[in-house]
Symmetry: C2
Subunit: 171 residues, 2 copies
């Protein structure tokens, strides 16, 4: 599948089939995260693959009871190992690094006929407790991964005119 | 090009040919950013396309004199419009949203036979001044975009074993 098509077809999937995702597919999704660039190539990240149903249910509860999270046969938690590091530009590198890696996973997932959904609405403390993550680290996203049970409609987007400007900033 | 291949072939390109990137290619790169997901689909972002050579040189200077940035025929500045918003999980949404959009651009660029390089090593204040960006916004990345003058070697990455764990966090 072309990159362009994967970008166009990616959706926030909130309904999943029961069937399990084969291990080799999960591996290819994780490989996409592994190859992602990071600040100074430090790769200060960990990806926790959760398949246990009870644990997935707990994660869904910790994510404002978004129960579809537990429907997906896998949930991947993306964890930044150096959340206090700030880049020269003033932006925390963990948030950018982990977002890149997770974005890579969402796009390769489309190619694997799998659905994902970015989850940022969760309790950091509760997810850390469920997954036994040390306090000093930071979970950037939960990513359910599974076979989509439906195909959500395309969400509206602002036009290029609204989001692009040339040479200097124009509101 | 398959997503998998684009992920494998993406490099941090630090040397660019002089020839200009055609407008239609730039449009397709920006379209990839436009289609990217963002927190609550808010799309609080702006992408500034800089082609002016003098301005590109100024950006390179503001980025710790990484002169290759000015070599690329285009530099895109990715700007977050709501840098104070923090998601439920405690992570600032602007950093994640903009990283997703820029990652989309880096991958579609590979498909367009173009090179890019994530730049986070720059002075926020100087870039804002050069591009006339209001103080309240935040530049997350500069992205040079151009025809690669060479193909950098693959950078080493940690193994899957080092970065992946199952069910709960293991150091």
């Amino acid at each position: 599948m072309e990159v362009k098509q994967a970008i166009q077809e990616r959706r926030s999937v909130r309904s999943y089939e029961k069937r399990e995702v084969p291990e080799e597919k999960i591996k290819r999704v994780l490989e996409a995260a592994r190859l992602a660039p990071s600040a100074s190539n430090r790769q200060l990240w960990k990806f926790i693959v959760v398949r246990d149903q009870k644990r997935r249910r707990e994660l869904a509860q910790a994510a404002s009871n978004q129960n579809f999270i537990a429907e997906a046969s896998v949930v991947i938690a993306a964890v930044g190992l150096n959340p206090s590091h700030i880049m020269h530009c003033g932006v925390p590198s963990y948030a950018v690094d982990l977002a890149i890696a997770v974005d890579h996973m969402t796009l390769i997932a489309v190619e694997e006929n799998l659905g994902t959904c970015w989850i940022g609405d969760f309790s950091q403390e509760e997810v850390k407790e469920i997954l036994n993550i040390p306090e000093k680290y930071k979970v950037v996203a939960l990513l359910p991964l599974g076979y989509p049970a439906d195909k959500p409609k395309v969400k509206s987007r602002r036009s290029l005119k609204e989001i692009v400007c040339y040479e200097t900033f124009i509101e």
